[in-house]
Subunit: 139 residues, 2 copies
Amino acid sequence: MSVSGTLRLLTAEGDGLRFEARIAERPIVMDGGRENADASPVQLLLATIAACEAMDVISILRKQRQVVTAYEVRMSGERAKEHPRRYVAIELVHRVTGRGVERGAVEEALRLSVEKYCSVHHCLRPDLPITNRIEILEG
Amino acid sequence: MSVSGTLRLLTAEGDGLRFEARIAERPIVMDGGRENADASPVQLLLATIAACEAMDVISILRKQRQVVTAYEVRMSGERAKEHPRRYVAIELVHRVTGRGVERGAVEEALRLSVEKYCSVHHCLRPDLPITNRIEILEG
């Protein structure tokens, strides 16, 4: 099972450093410049971790007939001060809104994602601490 | 030094599972469905690795007054067949087009990225093999 695509330099003027990734139908732009409107690779990495987990959780909750009406993840990552400025800690706050959603079901779905399903999570170094928190709202 | 943002469920109908990440000014959409126009998190992970390296390489080559006119990375990743279907091998082919670009300079820039600068690379598990190849074109 393989994934493939192309990354192409768009602009490299002044501080700007924009690349376009074609890896699905719609292209994605990343920007390594200082005042970037587009996400940088390391910003986007945080979003891929959160989205991978969230997609697993939603899929598992659906199978359990939990009624989820909204799902939001607040993501934050702390980076090392010295090169390579990798993440040293990540926190993801999963805010699940629904009708009578059971906390235990969300906790179990998240546990399954982290331990078994999340492909992005399992590409990361094992000593990178990722803290997942859950908030449940009725609505 | 911290990174933060929000991920929000857009649609969860049928097979569709689209999330929007707000982590820079322009939002990014990811799709976990089967026939996805937008990249999935694991596809996007591959693009963040390639873009992180490519941005380092371009920045280093600039400082060395190498004249790069185009830069493309062909990305491919092999995923495990069983859950978690993480990457088990990644290949990145860096195609650098320029005027008299020296192969040694590109090799050195890539080595510095991988060993010292690339924040995304250093978030990955050390046993994930990433093969970098270089092609240099005149133009």
